[in-house]
Subunit: 197 residues, 2 copies
């Protein structure tokens, strides 16, 4: 009963993460009924991004050039390499203004349950990148989720045997955090990882 | 810092209903990193649907032909016209197998707060359609939301002065519903709209 081009659009929208049949249907009607010019623009933006974006030869983040702005910046500390899961994480670290080294973006995390193993993220490229003789410390800044932690442990073991210093960003209470409102796991970690004053 | 084609894609994804900056970013990375073929397919599906779909000349639903399957079906009761907000609502009514008349799809509802007035939904076409001399009853099946109810009242007044019978689908407890678990508003309506046995 539903026209096939409409069904195809609803099906196609389901590639978006977190979009099930109901929201795909709502999105399809919205695009067709309320915002056809936005829809055409979206189609073009997808095609343009796929045609234009590639991975930085050094750090693996998305860029339109061969080497991204950060890797091309000669003012950065080349002895430190911060490993993050996604380009958005890189942006978050940059916003702190507290890190001046270079990055490596895994474009994912180890997640055996989803079938994502070492070969599905850019691990081989990271090992090659970290073994360039200039990098001496790798700062692992994957998320503190189960998958992010597993990735961090795996990376630490693999990098340490190559003679690199491997560190992990700290866990603890957030700035302005109150003990009353923090979860017990974070508080436990904050106790274990306490620093001498 | 973010490449401009990536930024354009993130911005473009925000035309989708319920998608803010954070989920647009997540969607963009997912399309680029995990499912480029699905992304290309989505772009094509949008373009194809916009090029192919038009409104049924009689009932205003989406169709690839001039007149949709239901309006073209000669076995339907042409004296009844059921008014719904969206094509999905039409599908829901069809699934009941309890209605054999024709439809009219408003493609929206009156919503003054969102700037959607009588001119923004297909009201003029509905009035023309309902005045064809064959239709004698209009069954209003807009949603029981504030906007759907306002639309129903507006339609009822406009259609009644043209000598048409106007009815509204019933409110009440759902099939299998228990008084204990129904909201007071629905229960109150079920009392007011009680039927003689």
């Amino acid at each position: 009963m539903t026209p096939s081009s409409l069904n195809q659009l609803i099906e196609a929208l389901r590639v978006l993460p977190g979009v099930g049949p109901k929201s795909a249907t709502r999105m399809a009607y919205h695009l067709l009924q309320r915002d056809q010019s936005g829809a055409v623009n979206l189609a073009h933006a997808i095609e343009y991004a796929i045609a234009t974006l590639k991975h930085c030869r050094h750090c693996n983040t998305f860029t339109e050039m061969d080497v991204c702005d950060i890797c091309a910046d000669e003012g950065r500390d080349t002895s430190r390499l911060c490993v993050v899961e996604m380009p958005t994480d890189l942006m978050m670290v940059e916003q702190t203004l507290a890190y001046h080294g270079l990055y490596f973006v895994l474009m994912g995390r180890l997640s055996p349950l989803d079938g994502i193993g070492p070969k599905d993220i850019a691990l081989a490229r990271l090992l090659e990148r970290a073994s360039d003789g200039v990098v001496d410390e790798v700062v692992i800044a994957t998320n503190f989720t189960v998958e992010g932690e597993a990735t961090a442990h795996y990376l630490a073991e693999t990098l340490r045997v190559r003679g690199l210093i491997v560190s992990r960003i700290a866990r603890g209470l957030p700035v302005g955090g109150e003990l009353e409102h923090v979860d017990p796991g974070t508080l436990a970690q904050a106790l274990v990882e306490r620093r001498k004053l």
